[in-house]
């Protein structure tokens, strides 16, 4: 259940202890907290913001499905104390950038919303284990809603690099709240948009869409995040058709790195219920083990 650490060849500078650590041992940090610089910060729609940060090499090496813990600025009159977990939306090791896509919700994200270009944001990561792409998969299906629209987006580029085609079923309350559509399309993915407003986002309709994709041979695996109802649909179909799948889970976090056990969820591992830390054992889990 625990993930083994790989220190090999990762050059990183830990916060605070850089000199001392470097001078007396060969140890190197693979997770760093650093003050990243806001490169751009834009409203995608009335709810979502797209944040691009300049960062160090460790952060920029983050993989799809991994996440960061952001130390959000304090918005007026509020004091978010804990860091906030945020999925990687994009990473560019060459330009040393990471991107996030977030919805303004509570104190932390309201704090993020105050960031201006040139401001500094304390980010900690990359954290957790991300998605795995089997080179044998030709076609995968991505089903996303809510924050899942951000979490699954970096799969688009990774799948393309893997030679895997994506069909992305993207769900939102209204068409104008759909995000990541262009990102998926730019990487050659087919996008099926479903919304509450158009009454197309219900589980029955999504199931119809997915059955058609399976029938057409366009679904070697499921990738999903952000809706437990849609996750259950995929679990049913995965079982029926013997398909693999991965789900990115969310849970409130304190430490983000496996220390505190506040982010646990129950999983069904071969019939046995086991409790796992979303931040450490996930956030990406086997679709069939996830419990809604």
């Amino acid at each position: 259940m625990s993930i083994h650490l790989d220190h090999a060849g990762i050059a990183a500078i830990p916060v605070g202890g850089a000199e001392a650590a470097a001078s007396c041992t060969p140890w190197k940090a693979s997770v760093v907290a650093e003050l990243a610089e806001v490169v751009s910060h834009e409203a995608v729609n009335s709810e979502y913001r797209h944040l691009v940060l300049g960062c160090g090499p460790e952060a920029a090496a983050a993989l799809p499905g991994q996440f960061f813990q952001l130390l959000c600025p304090h918005p007026l009159g509020e004091q978010p104390f804990l860091r906030r977990p945020m999925s990687l939306y994009g990473a560019d090791p060459d330009r040393r950038q990471v991107e996030f896509l977030y919805k303004v919700t509570g104190a932390g994200t309201r704090g993020l919303d105050t960031l201006k270009i040139g401001d500094r944001l304390d980010i900690m990561g990359p954290l957790g284990t991300g998605f795995t792409l089997d080179p044998a998969w030709r076609n995968i299906v991505v089903v996303a809603r809510g924050a899942g629209l951000a979490t699954l987006a970096p799969l688009a580029r990774a799948a393309k690099a893997n030679g895997t085609h994506i069909t992305a079923v993207l769900s939102a309350r209204r068409p104008d709240l759909l995000v990541s559509v262009e990102l998926f399309q730019s990487q050659g993915a087919d996008v099926v948009a479903v919304t509450d407003a158009e009454a197309s986002s219900g589980p029955a309709n999504v199931e119809r869409i997915l059955r058609r994709l399976i029938a057409d041979g366009r679904c070697d695996a499921f990738f999903t995040c952000g809706s437990s109802r849609l996750m259950r649909v995929q679990q049913r179909l995965a079982r029926e058709f013997g398909l693999p799948g991965q789900v990115a889970m969310e849970q409130q976090m304190a430490c983000g790195i496996g220390l505190c056990y506040c982010c646990v969820r129950d999983f069904n591992v071969d019939g046995e219920i086991v409790s796992r830390r979303v931040c450490w054992d996930g956030p990406v889990f086997d679709l069939m083990e996830a419990l809604p």
Binding site: V15, G17, A20, L82, G258, L259, C260, C262, S275, W280
Partner: protein, 318 residues
């Protein structure tokens, strides 16, 4: 730059390379990705119990300004798992491993301590802030008598250095510390979290699945600092300070109040490298103040007759 600062401290015979270590429940293997484990004064594990436990219902944490309330409970995979799976993580490091334990009875504490008195474990920290089922669920550390009893049984069960971690939720922490000392504890850890509550104003429900939880973080520092000051005056064994320490300044304040070492908990959730930063800054502090041994700070608070109000306070040169 002047000569090196000696950061080492000795806690009841156990020598630590510096006085900074994690607080139980806020430390695990994950931090290895962030810091060099060979730099810490000690490792302190999450509390383990003999029985397998699931921990508390969710939500398990809620934040408040400058603080965190947690009701994680003590999810535990038991002793064999700890010995076979957890201990090996720490074996490669030259840093003493302190194991935090808990049990619902004094006898349970003792037998767990005995079982864990094995090579690779440098000290036992008894988390006696947990409910004592023999006293209606009141925590052992709430009263001197139950503290003395559980400590005595622990003392008889193990030759390892024995640290007893007290609760801040009692009216007389120094008296409880004295009881632990009298029964043979090698050190007291002051303190665990402060029992607290938060209610969600949308749902009118408690913010925590467990209804109440323990407060930690900067907000509690003045309270626990006072308890450390009182305990250090009450006992001769070392007091390990724990509560709201985020910076080297906080650590120094605790040591001046009488702490021989400090534990860092919640701060690590905000700055994962908090402990190594504190160690570096503590060294710098000592160097600037020309303190050659960090132990010179211990109990160094200067208590004088209070100054009269003085206009000179306002402009020292005038």
């Amino acid at each position: 730059m002047s000569a090196d600062v000696d950061l080492s401290v000795s806690i009841g015979g156990l020598r630590l390379r510096n006085p900074v270590m994690p607080a139980s429940g806020t430390f695990a293997e994950g931090l290895e990705r962030v810091m060099d484990f060979n730099r810490l004064g000690a490792f302190v594990t999450k509390t383990i119990t003999r029985e397998l436990r699931a921990g508390n219902p969710l939500p398990r944490v809620v934040e408040r300004p400058g603080s965190l309330i947690n009701a994680i409970g003590i999810p535990s995979k038991g002793v064999p798992y700890f010995v076979e799976k957890t201990m090996p993580h720490y074996a490669p490091y030259d840093t003493p491993l302190v194991v935090s334990i808990s049990a619902p009875t004094a006898e349970g504490f003792a037998s767990l301590a005995a079982e864990l008195s094995i090579p690779g474990i440098a000290a036992i920290e008894a988390n006696i802030s947990c409910p004592n089922i023999e006293e209606d669920g009141k925590a052992f550390a709430m009263r001197a008598e139950s503290t003395e009893n559980v400590t005595r049984q622990l003392r008889a069960a193990t030759d390892l250095p024995l640290w007893v971690k007290l609760t801040p939720n009692t009216g007389d922490v120094p008296e409880v510390a004295r009881a632990a000392e009298a029964a043979g504890a090698d050190a007291v850890v002051v303190a665990n979290t402060i029992l607290s509550m938060a209610i969600d104003l949308k749902s009118f429900k408690p913010c925590l699945g467990n209804i109440m939880g323990g407060l930690s973080g900067p907000a509690i520092k003045p309270i626990v600092l006072r308890q450390v000051f009182q305990c250090a005056k009450a006992v001769k064994i070392p007091v390990i300070g724990c509560g709201g320490i985020s910076t080297a300044d906080d650590a120094v304040e605790y040591m001046l109040a009488g702490a021989s070492a400090v534990q860092v908990g919640t701060a690590t959730f905000l700055q994962p490298a908090a402990m190594t930063t504190i160690i570096d800054d503590l060294e710098t502090f000592c160097r600037h103040r020309e303190i050659s041994r960090v132990t010179d700070l211990i109990g160094g608070v200067v208590i004088e007759e209070a100054d009269e109000p003085d206009l000179a306070w306002l402009d020292p040169v005038s």
